[in-house]
C-alpha cells in the first residue's frame, strides 16, 4: 500500500497504536513493560523516552541502511549496524540532554540506558526495512508504534498501582499477576482487530 494522503497516514497511526499495538499484539518490548510499570510516574517517563529515541533511531537506521548498506551491498550487516547505531544514539542523546536540557534529563535520564536493549526499538527499525517503508512512512509508523507502547505502558501502570490495595493470592504476587493483567488488556485491544488494515 502506498502512503500518500493524510487519510493513509491517519489509518497507519490508528493501526499502529491500537490494532497492532507493539506490546500487546506484537510482543515487542516486554522487559520494560513489566519492569518499570509499577508506578505511573516511571511508566510515563519510560514511555516518553521511548517515543523520543524510537523516532530518532528509526530515522538514523533508515538512512544508514538506504545510503550506506544498500550501495555497499552489505544488507546482511543490518542487525549489527542497527544495534550499534541505536547504542551510540542513546549515548549521544544522554550526553546532549544532560548538558542542554537538564530538566528533561532529570525526568528521562534514568530510562535511557535501558532503551538500548528494548527490543521494541530494534524491532521497529527492522520492520521499517522489511516492509520497505519510505522515510516519511517509517517516521510516522515509528512514532505511532512508540505512542502505542507508551499508551499500553501507562494503562498497565494505572492498573498495577491498584494491586497495592487488592487481595492477590500470595503465589501470584509480582510478575505473575502482572502478566495475567497484561493478557486482559491485550484481550481488550483485540476489540480493535480488523478495524483498519495495514
Amino acid at each position: 500500500m502506498e502512503y500518500n494522503s493524510l487519510t493513509d497516514y491517519l489509518l497507519l497511526i490508528v493501526a499502529a497504536v491500537f490494532v497492532k499495538n507493539i506490546l500487546l499484539a506484537q510482543y515487542l518490548g516486554n522487559c520494560p513493560f513489566l519492569g518499570v510499570s509499577k508506578k505511573m510516574e516511571t511508566a510515563t517517563g519510560m514511555g516518553m523516552a521511548v517515543v523520543f529515541v524510537l523516532v530518532l533511531a528509526a530515522v538514523f537506521t533508515w538512512m544508514t541502511y538506504t545510503y550506506i548498506l544498500v550501495p555497499l551491498k552489505l544488507e546482511y550487516m543490518k542487525t549489527v549496524t542497527f544495534i550499534l547505531v541505536i547504542a551510540a544514539l542513546v549515548q549521544f542523546v544522554e550526553m546532549f540532554m544532560k548538558k542542554s536540557m537538564p530538566a528533561l534529563y532529570k525526568g528521562l535520564g534514568v530510562f535511557l540506558p535501558l532503551i538500548t536493549t528494548n527490543c521494541a526499538v530494534l524491532g521497529v527499525c527492522l520492520i521499517n526495512i522489511d516492509k520497505e517503508y519510505s522515510i516519511m512512512t517509517a517516521t510516522v509508523f515509528s512514532f505511532a508504534s512508540a505512542v502505542g507502547f507508551a499508551l499500553a505502558l501507562a494503562l498497565f501502570a494505572g492498573l498495577r498501582e491498584r494491586f497495592e490495595i487488592a487481595a492477590i493470592p500470595k503465589s501470584f504476587e509480582g510478575t505473575a499477576i502482572g502478566l495475567i493483567t497484561a493478557g486482559l488488556i491485550a484481550m481488550a485491544f483485540f476489540g480493535f482487530a480488523g478495524m483498519v488494515n495495514i
Binding site: M1, Y76, M77, V80, A193, N197
Partner: protein, 190 residues
C-alpha cells in the same frame, strides 16, 4: 594516547573481524538460502497449481518489473512449449499481506488454481483461507473475469466471520489477472 588508542584499536579490530566473518558466511550460505526458499515456500504450491511439467522451474524462471514490484514468473513447459505460468500476487488482509501463488493455464485461458503462500490472518478465522475448501473455489475461473465474494455480488463463498480475509484473497486474484493483462506481450515472448 594509551588507553584511548587501545579502545579504538580493539573496537576497530572486533568490527573488522566481524565484518569479514559475516561476509564469508554470506557468500557460503547465499545459494543454500535461495534453494531452501524455493523448496519450502514456492515448490509445493507450484506443484499443486501447475499442470505436469518437464522443465526445471528454477532454471527457467524470469523476472518482470511491474511498477515498483519485481514479479518472478515460473513457466511450466511440456516438450519445450510453455503451457502454464506460476507467479505470486498479494493483497491486504486483516493483519498484513495475503500472498498467493497463482497458476495460469495458457491453453484454456483459465486460472488453474491458487495457493496461499504467506499470510498473518487470525488463527481459526481468516487463517482458514489456506484450507482447500476455500481455495478450490478459485479453480478454473476464466482469466480477467471479476472475482468477488458473495456479499460483494461475486461468486466466492466467504469464510464465515472472515469476510475481510476472503475479500483480500479475491483482490489478490484480481491483481494477478491485472498483472497478466498488463504484461501479456512480455510474458508471451519469454
Amino acid at each position: 594516547m594509551g588507553e584511548i588508542m587501545k579502545m579504538m584499536v580493539v573496537l576497530t579490530l572486533i568490527s573488522v573481524v566481524s565484518g569479514v566473518a559475516l561476509g564469508t558466511m554470506n557468500e557460503v550460505t547465499r545459494d543454500p538460502i535461495i534453494q531452501a526458499e524455493f523448496k519450502f515456500a514456492k515448490e509445493p504450491a507450484l506443484k499443486e497449481i501447475l499442470p505436469e511439467y518437464d522443465n526445471d522451474l528454477v532454471a527457467d524462471k524470469f523476472e518482470i518489473v511491474s511498477g515498483e514490484k519485481i514479479v518472478t514468473v515460473y513457466p511450466a513447459k511440456q516438450n519445450g512449449k510453455v503451457v502454464a505460468l506460476g507467479y505470486e500476487s498479494s493483497a491486504k488482509g486483516v493483519n498484513g499481506d495475503i500472498r498467493i501463488m497463482v497458476g495460469i493455464d495458457l491453453e484454456k485461458n483459465v486460472l488453474r488454481g491458487i495457493r496461499v503462500v504467506a499470510h498473518s490472518e487470525t488463527p481459526g478465522l481468516g487463517a482458514r483461507i489456506t484450507e482447500a475448501a476455500f481455495s478450490r473455489q478459485f479453480d478454473n475461473i476464466p482469466l480477467g473475469a471479476p472475482v468477488k465474494v458473495k456479499p460483494d455480488g461475486g461468486q466466492v463463498d466467504a469464510i464465515s466471520g472472515a469476510t475481510i480475509s476472503s475479500r483480500g484473497t479475491c483482490e489478490a486474484v484480481e491483481a494477478a489477472f491485472k498483472f497478466f493483462e498488463e504484461h501479456k506481450a512480455e510474458l508471451s515472448t519469454k
